[in-house]
């Protein structure tokens, strides 16, 4: 028993989950002063070992830059507040000389504070040539609210948020309004957006496909170009381009793994693959069973509960994978988090379907399995796996599988083994009953 609390402490420091009884036992053991001393020595050694063997985190330089950028913005805010405090002191001095004038000034300041700071309802105003969409449906231009997507027409549009963010949408600009009062966010999907932010009222963040631009008080333009896919070009080779130009004030950016600040007159361009096609070094993976799937999302269930993963429209491979998934498929999703959502980078899956062959072609086979966990019967169409690389190198559908598909009669009961590669690919066919 004496040794077991040490094991429990090790587990706890390893981040393992302990049961309530184990935690109670550990807590009880740590009451004794001699055990506490031993526990401290053990924790100290544990940490020394971890520090000695762990490599410096690859994310460290970028993380350090992010911290310095945060502090840079905090410093700007302090300077700003300092300037305002000086102005207030000057006003107080002036007040002593001319009381009546000061009263008028205070009154004016109060009026401005109420008008700009606002205690009233949320202010989102859209003017000009633009259409608003909610959950993919056109809703006109009235009653715009957070979560809605705005697409500017040929004459461009103007959007005002919270009384302190004036946004100019150039023709073709597409964005989503998010955030909350005094913490305004927009997600710029494409096009050019000029942002004029009144300082000292609230926060403003402009999200772009590769990161964010954060502002205290400034005027700046962000442009996102996602070039259309050229014929024959692979989706993976298309890079989103983002340009940030600052007209006044300072903005902090965290885009495409780079973090820093831009001051008035500065401009910077960024390029990286769009979301879902980036390096997987910072990615997470989740394995589970498909519960629900749509064109742009999949909900999976595992021992941690239910989780929803979104696919970016630019990630064509993920969209094709989603199109092939059905309820009860076992998959592993590699994802990254952005704007509070989990975005799919890739989906891997493997499984087997047992059912009757209900249709087939030269290079595909349709199998109808029994009812799934929701009681639905869903026929599934699968093709052979592609092997051998590019067609010019002799690549093509797996000949062995093609032959087996041709040999299998409609009506036979089969078990197909599949792998996910843009759609479900047959890697094995067992005929159970002809």
């Amino acid at each position: 028993m004496n040794a077991s609390w040490k094991h429990l402490l090790d587990q706890c420091l390893d981040g393992d989950r302990l049961t309530a009884e184990e935690l109670a036992a550990l807590k009880e053991a740590l009451r004794a002063p001699e055990n506490r001393q031993e526990a401290a020595a053990q924790a100290h050694f544990h940490e020394a070992l971890a520090r000695h063997v762990s490599p410096p985190a690859a994310a460290l330089p970028a993380s350090r830059r992010r911290l310095l950028a945060k502090v840079g913005l905090r410093e700007q805010r302090l300077l700003h507040a300092g300037a305002r405090a000086s102005a207030r002191r000057a006003r107080r001095l002036w007040t002593a000389v001319a009381v009546a004038g000061a009263t008028a000034t205070s009154l004016l300041i109060a009026i401005i504070a109420v008008t700009v700071g606002g205690g009233g309802p949320e202010q989102i105003t859209l003017t000009g040539d633009a259409e608003v969409f909610r959950n993919g449906k056109w809703i006109g231009r009235e009653n715009i609210r957070r979560g809605d997507a705005v697409i500017a027409g040929g004459d461009g549009a103007a959007l005002q948020l919270g009384g302190y963010c004036q946004l100019r949408l150039e023709p073709g600009c597409e964005l989503v309004v998010a955030g909350s009062r005094r913490d305004e966010h927009v997600h710029l999907r494409r096009g050019s957006l000029t942002n004029k932010i009144t300082p000292g009222v609230g926060r403003y963040v402009c999200g772009v496909p590769l990161g964010i631009v954060r502002v205290v008080g400034a005027e700046f333009t962000v442009r996102v170009d996602v070039p259309p896919k050229a014929e024959g070009e692979e989706a993976m080779k298309r890079f989103a381009r983002i340009v940030v130009m600052v007209a006044a004030g300072t903005v902090g950016y965290d885009i495409a793994g780079e973090t820093g600040q831009l001051s008035a007159g500065d401009g910077r361009a960024f390029a990286a693959p769009p979301r879902g096609q980036r390096e997987e070094s910072s990615a997470n993976t989740t394995t589970g069973v498909v519960e629900k799937v749509t064109d742009l999302s999949v909900q999976i269930e595992n021992k941690n509960g239910h989780q929803v993963f979104m696919a970016d429209r630019a990630n064509k491979t993920a969209l094709l994978d989603l199109g092939a998934l059905v309820r009860d498929d076992q998959i592993t999703v590699t994802w990254e988090e952005e704007f509070g959502k989990k975005w799919i980078m890739k989906i891997e899956g493997r499984g087997a379907i047992r059912g009757k062959v209900t249709d087939k072609g030269e290079q595909w086979i349709e199998v109808t399995p029994g009812p799934n966990s929701a009681g639905e019967i869903m026929p599934q169409k699968l093709g052979p796996k592609w092997v051998g690389g590019m067609p010019r190198d002799g690549g093509g559908p797996d000949k062995e599988i093609v032959r087996k598909i041709q040999e299998t009669p409609i009506g036979a009961t089969v078990e197909l083994t599949w792998e996910l590669a843009e759609r479900k690919r047959v890697v094995g066919i067992d005929v159970i009953e002809e």
């Binding site: 706890c12 935690l23 924790a43 020394a48 000695h52 063997v53 911290l67 502090v71 300077l79």
Partner: protein, 200 residues
């Protein structure tokens, strides 16, 4: 087949990187803050990583601790004395909150662990740390290849026990006990060396 464990003792690590190229002239408080970051960022990150075992939480805790330090510098109350120890104390308090909120540990358990970690933080001087690292390097070298591999997977690769167990088709509980014994053996070896004063 031997598996080498790369070692990363603080003294072996590279010096802090030079200031970022795009930096504009810094204010005195920013200069003071940068000095603090240069001196302690990596060690605090490592400490937060040890306590949370979660990359995102590690960055959150590290950033919050440094931002608290910046606020104190800005208020003219910069941490005095051993600023590294002060930062670790701040990080511990932040991690305790994280344990309560994210790991759902009860307050009394968090307090008990917090006391242990407070005491652990005062367990060694810098000279003893250097000796400890030296002895660790020697003792790790004496491990069997499979044990070195387990340590490497756990710490160098940062994998969880359940993930290692899954990958190696072993029982996670067995692996936990093995790792626990391995750490005990390493600790005894290190204590013998540091107490005997015969580092390799």
């Amino acid at each position: 087949m031997s598996t080498n464990i790369p070692t990363h003792s603080p003294e072996a690590r590279a010096k802090p990187s030079p200031p970022d190229a795009q930096d504009s002239p810094l204010s005195p408080r920013e200069r003071a803050f940068r000095k603090l970051v240069d001196a302690h960022y990596e060690t605090l990150w490592s400490y937060a990583s040890f306590l949370t075992r979660n990359r995102h939480a590690t960055e959150d805790v590290t950033h919050q601790a440094f931002l608290i330090a910046f606020d104190r510098i800005a208020a003219g109350r910069a941490p005095t004395g051993d600023s590294g120890r002060w930062l670790r104390g701040v990080a511990r308090n932040l991690v305790k909150r994280w344990w309560r909120e994210r790991r759902k540990l009860a307050q009394d358990v968090v307090d008990a662990l917090g006391e242990v970690l407070d005491a652990a933080d005062h367990a060694a001087t810098q000279v003893q740390q250097v000796e400890l690292n030296h002895a660790l390097a020697v003792c790790l070298d004496k491990l069997k290849a499979e044990d070195r591999r387990l340590i490497s997977l756990r710490y160098a690769d940062g994998r969880r026990i359940t993930a290692i167990a899954e990958q190696s088709y072993q029982n996670a509980a067995t692996l936990r006990v093995r790792l626990h014994r391995l750490r005990n053996a390493l600790r005894k070896c290190v204590e013998k060396r540091t107490a005997g004063g015969t580092p390799a």
